[in-house]
């Protein structure tokens, strides 16, 4: 095992929390001397933040192919008007546009920090949310018995010398399927939950536990106890409650906004985060989906404001960070009888980061004519989602073991879309 001493966390972390007043003296020196990237500690790591849109977002109203006339034929009451019309799409490239609720993404697009992959999805045609989420998170479409998630395999197969207990964090009450597996993962809905909780006796009880867990055990408990308290104490000192977002970033006061804010805190604290997971639900719009306003518009607003806040807050640190969004499948090209859309197939993904070759919609776009659709009803899948995951794993996280991360599937540079250099 490669878990190592935790408290070598870098001075940068402490400084970013505004902790100089509470940090021990020796760390003071460390921090002021090291107000620049350190090679020591967990200061600078490549980070992947994955965001799961559970419930299958309507990709065609999220990244709108307003240049396809069928789009307006199929969606009499829910289509997003063309750019320049009232409540129209935010133009991207003369053919695609963003849902107006995604306006906060526009500046990232213009700065080439946002790339889009369209017509992406699973080779498996299931229309079950359950199965499709399972397949996407295990990254083994059609195979249910895969015991671990793809993000966990990314970590398992990429040995880090100074891996931290916070290598993988899910802002969730439970470890999501994507992160299940042997590589240690922390799941918490709230950073404050990562503590000993004994009411008024907390300090005393924690002191007791710290004492008895100091010694390394010769079995699978190993150093875990010691590491736990190093992590707990670090977070406690960091005092997440006092966090202030940078660069004027404003997170919405939503569950999703809070999740992303806490991810930013972890990154800035230099706790050694490599993979973070957050999710946002409410996308299963069978009824009254709405157009530029309405149900979908509301959720997209939370989605875009939260992500934009995160990317703004991280600022220069987005050099090291990729934000990748995903959803289990897309929705039918045609609207249904209740002003909504039903379960479909192909969808769109967003990729944010300063290292992204942004300002471009990637993927092989077939079109929306009936015979171009999957089963004559859904956007076809022309890019296997594993090629997107693979490109991020390989180029961003530097994981060269793609055959192990994606068992039974061969993805390689030839299949990558090229949204990362």
């Amino acid at each position: 095992m490669d878990r190592r001493y935790f408290l070598k966390a870098s001075g940068i972390g402490l400084a970013s929390f505004g902790l100089m007043s509470v940090a021990p003296t020796f760390l003071h020196q460390f921090a002021s001397a090291a107000a620049l990237p350190t090679s020591d500690g967990y200061g600078k790591k490549k980070v992947l933040i994955t965001i799961f849109q559970r419930g299958a977002v309507d990709g065609l109203n999220m990244v709108v192919p307003y240049g396809a006339s069928e789009y307006y034929d199929y969606r009499s009451s829910i289509a997003i008007p063309k750019p320049n019309q009232t409540d129209g799409a935010v133009d991207l490239d003369g053919y695609f546009g963003l849902h107006p609720s995604l306006k906060p993404f526009e500046s990232f697009w213009k700065n080439k920090q946002l790339a889009i992959v369209h017509s992406v999805g699973s080779p498996d045609n299931t229309r079950s949310h359950f199965d499709a989420q399972d397949y996407m998170e295990s990254a083994t479409p059609g195979v249910k018995s895969t015991k671990d998630g793809w993000l966990n395999r990314v970590l398992q197969t990429k040995i880090e010398k100074d891996a931290s207990p916070f290598r993988a964090v899910a802002l969730n009450p439970q470890v999501p399927r994507s992160l299940m597996g042997r590589a240690p993962t922390i799941a918490m809905s709230n950073l404050a939950d990562f503590a000993i909780n004994a009411g008024a006796y907390t300090n005393s009880v924690q002191g007791g536990f710290e004492g008895i867990w100091q010694q390394k055990a010769n079995d699978s408990l190993g150093d875990t106890g010691k590491e736990t308290f190093e992590a707990v104490n670090f977070l406690k000192k960091a005092n997440p409650a006092q966090y202030k977002a940078a660069n004027g970033a404003q997170y919405p006061n939503s569950q999703f906004g809070r999740s992303l804010l806490q991810i930013a805190q972890l990154i800035k604290a230099g706790v050694g985060l490599e993979v973070a997971f957050a999710e946002i639900g409410g996308w299963d719009t069978h009824v009254n989906e709405g157009s530029s306003r309405g149900q979908l518009a509301n959720i997209l607003r939370d989605f875009s404001q939260s992500i934009a806040a995160l990317a703004t807050d991280l600022g220069k640190q987005m050099d090291e960070v990729i934000i990748l969004t995903m959803s289990e499948f897309g929705r039918t090209a045609r609207q249904n009888g209740t002003g909504g859309t039903d379960h479909g197939h192909g969808n769109a993904m967003f990729v944010f980061g300063n290292s992204v070759k942004g300002g471009k919609v990637y993927g092989d776009w077939k079109g929306l004519k009936s015979d171009q659709l999957n089963d004559e009803r859904d956007l076809a899948v022309t890019t296997d989602f594993r090629d997107v995951f693979g490109e991020v794993s390989y180029k961003h996280l530097g994981n060269k073991n793609l055959d192990k991360v994606f068992p039974g599937y061969s993805t390689n540079a030839g299949k990558f879309k090229g949204f990362l250099s």
């Binding site: 559970r54 359950f130 249910k144 018995s145 207990p165 922390i186 404050a192 005393s204 009254n288 009888g337």
Partner: protein
């Protein structure tokens, strides 16, 4: 990770050798290792503790003495025959949980979904189906998939979206939604109905209470083992409603019976049929027939004879049939029919996870052939809450469900949620499985497959290994596995015989295996409750179990929770173990009451000694003991407590997890304020949260 195992293994071997050569000279050696390996044999008391920890969920106060009086071998033999043990206390504890005695149909009737309830009263309230669909909006995720893509009738027909949603529903605003929800709540109340999450809340409470109180400790361990081996996931659509039956009629009667009976029971269980999709698996030929028939109807091309047959089959009159055909034509324009056919999921997991194991020597072709053998193994009215809601609330039958039943050729009184072999959906062609020809026909095809699998040596080995990991060590020796596999094979899958071989094996009592396994979250929770003699209703404790990462029926993948500690010991989970320990000791868990007065004493040293004796039977590492000694002198409450800190801690909530969790326990479970003698509960909490108590 394997390196670590081999490392531990080597260390263990070295120390074992050292111990053999010079039993008392191991000075300076790590205390725990010394404790485990310094003796050649376990003492009688250690053997008893070992058996109580491994066959059961740890000792309650007085258990060691009771087993001693009875004799260890007799105790084990008794545990192997659970139904010979009277179990009045445990049965009394679970007596009031109504789901435990309900059939699947009764569970459907008592715990319908809010949507089914609303649908049942929609018409008389002037609601469209669109209105109904809007009732459930916020935060949809995988748990909410029911009624959607799984919308399939028992004979394999896909249901079209517009059957679910009526045309042009007006948007419902929040106020209207609230009103609808109130209305639904009223109907639940009037008809004495319960919400679906209560099903798993009750079932989980029963699992917890039985594990705590039952005298049949091995039975409860095996229920836990098989429930994980034959894992199903509560949050997959209708699975939740089938779980009480799954526990009661599938797992429990067979937990110490014959493996083949158990396997067959799972194969036929609605829980498994639904979870692994076999209920939808139909022969491609049947698909063609249906498609043909539907195509004719869509095109309006039915001759008079076909018309009559269609009317009969669908229970419609002429006008209704015309309307139906028109509707089908429209639907055709709207969406293409989903293709349905053979589903291989069950067939694959049956071999990979239930019997042969992943290296058990089967091919993809075998998977396909096995899947063909199980076509037609399905469920009557798999989402019976709809029909039952209509019948309970209105006293009427849901017409669609009745039509479906009729189309299947089922008798009118066929119960919702029961196993049914649908001859029409069965693939009648010849199949070859693992080189053997299968042509028994009908349901016997599947039965034959189960026969072949149970008798395959790979199955014996696979099950033997899993049992050895469960009961002996995370790294059992090959000879042990072979001995146990032989017992399995020679007894034709008799679980009792297999376990007897395991429990009488010298490796079972080997010193290096003593206190060498880490408790699973369930084992930790149950053993802690038993050790302190706490009283529990199994309620809120579920939320804490979920926080440790293993809610009951909450694992999404068919593999079940990993059986090796390496997979679940991590910082987050460890922290939750400690928090649980201290919450239990300080009486902060609603519905679980502990009285620690027996550990009270005149001074702290004495409290500590009593606690170590009572909770760990003095099996404590010198290091832990030294640390505890130091800790008891620390002040309980520091002079100046940081207010914000305390506020933060107090507001910390127990968020619940998925599976048994998210839907099962949607509410946050707030901890109670600590109560009891603080000096005592601190010591007891520390011990229950110590490395020593994590081991068994």
């Amino acid at each position: 990770m394997t390196d670590r195992f081999s490392y531990i293994y080597k260390i263990t071997v070295i120390f074992t050798l050292l111990a053999l050569l010079a039993p008392v000279s191991a000075i300076g050696v790590n205390a725990q290792t010394m404790q485990k390996t310094s003796a050649k044999y376990l003492t009688e008391d250690q053997k008893i503790l070992h058996v109580l920890n491994r066959l059961g969920f740890g000792a309650r106060p007085g258990d060691v003495a009771r087993v001693k009086a009875m004799g260890l071998n007799k105790y084990i033999e008794q545990q192997l025959n659970p139904f010979s043990i009277s179990d009045t206390l445990a049965e009394a504890k679970v007596k009031n949980l109504d789901i435990l005695t309900m059939s699947n149909e009764e569970v459907f009737a008592k715990y319908p979904t809010p949507k089914a309830v609303l649908q049942a009263v929609a018409k008389e309230n002037g609601l469209t189906k669109g209105d109904v669909a809007q009732l459930k909006t916020k935060n949809k995720n995988n748990a909410d998939e029911m009624n959607k893509n799984d919308a399939m009738t028992a004979d394999g027909k896909a249901m079209m979206p517009d059957e679910k949603n009526a045309a042009n529903a007006a948007p419902i605003n929040d106020e209207e939604k609230q009103k609808l929800q109130q209305q639904v709540a009223e109907i639940y109340k009037q008809n004495d109905l319960g919400r679906p999450p209560q099903i798993t809340q009750q079932l989980n409470a029963s699992r917890i209470m039985r594990a705590v109180y039952s005298e049949r400790q091995l039975q409860e361990q095996m229920v836990d083992f098989w429930s994980n081996h034959f894992n199903v996931y509560a949050d997959k659509a209708a699975v939740r409603w089938f779980l009480p039956e799954y526990d009661r009629d599938v797992i429990r009667p067979n937990a110490l019976g014959n493996f083949k009976d158990l396997l067959l029971a799972t194969a036929k269980s609605p829980a498994m049929l639904f979870y692994l999709d076999n209920f939808q698996s139909v022969s491609p030929n049947m698909q063609a027939n249906n498609a043909n028939r539907n195509r004719q109807m869509q095109n309006g091309q039915l001759n008079p004879q076909q018309r009559e047959r269609a009317k009969e089959r669908l229970g419609l009159n002429d006008t209704e049939l015309d309307a139906r055909m028109k509707q089908m034509q429209q639907r055709q324009n709207q969406a293409k029919k989903q293709t349905r056919g053979i589903n291989e999921n069950y067939a694959r997991e049956l071999m990979e996870l239930h019997t042969l194991g992943v290296d058990g020597g089967y091919t993809q072709k075998d998977v396909q052939e096995v899947a063909r053998c199980f076509t037609g193994w399905t469920i009557v009215d798999p989402r019976g809450y709809r029909r039952m809601a209509a019948s309970v609330i209105n006293g009427t039958e849901n017409k669609r469900a009745m039509r479906q039943a009729k189309a299947l050729g089922l008798p009118e009184d066929a119960e919702s949620g029961t196993f049914y072999f649908n001859e029409r959906a069965h693939d009648t062609g010849e199949k070859i499985v693992l080189g053997q020809k299968i042509n028994e026909g009908g349901i016997k095809d599947g039965l034959k497959v189960l026969d072949i699998l149970v008798n395959n040596p790979a199955t014996a080995k696979f099950i033997a290994r899993k049992l050895a990991v469960k009961f002996v060590s995370d790294n059992p020796s090959d000879p042990l596995i072979t001995r146990v596999a032989d017992a399995f094979h020679n007894s034709k899958g008799d679980i009792k015989t297999t376990l007897r071989a395991l429990f009488t094996d010298k490796e079972f009592y080997a010193p290096e295996n003593y206190r060498a396994k880490i408790k699973t979250p369930f084992e930790l929770v149950i053993s802690a409750i038993r050790t302190v003699g706490a009283d529990t209703n199994g309620g809120q404790i579920q939320a804490l179990l979920a926080k440790m990462g293993e809610p009951l029926y909450g694992y999404i993948a068919p593999t079940g929770y990993p059986d090796m500690a390496e997979d679940w010991v991590n910082t987050g989970a460890l922290l939750e173990r400690m928090n649980f320990a201290v919450a239990l000791a300080s009486n902060r868990i609603r519905g679980t009451k502990v009285n620690l007065s027996q550990y009270q004493a005149a001074n702290k040293q004495e409290i500590l000694n009593k606690s170590i004796a009572g909770l760990l039977d003095n099996e404590i590492s010198p290091n832990t003991k030294a640390m505890l000694l130091k800790q008891i002198d620390q002040p309980l409450i520091e002079p100046k407590l940081d207010d914000t800190d305390e506020a933060m801690m107090e507001s910390t909530s127990m968020q619940t997890g998925q599976g048994g969790g998210k839907r099962g326990l949607g509410r946050q479970a707030q901890l109670l304020p600590p109560s009891g003698d603080a000096e005592v509960f601190k010591v007891v909490g520390l011990i229950l949260g110590s490395p020593d108590f994590q081991r068994q």
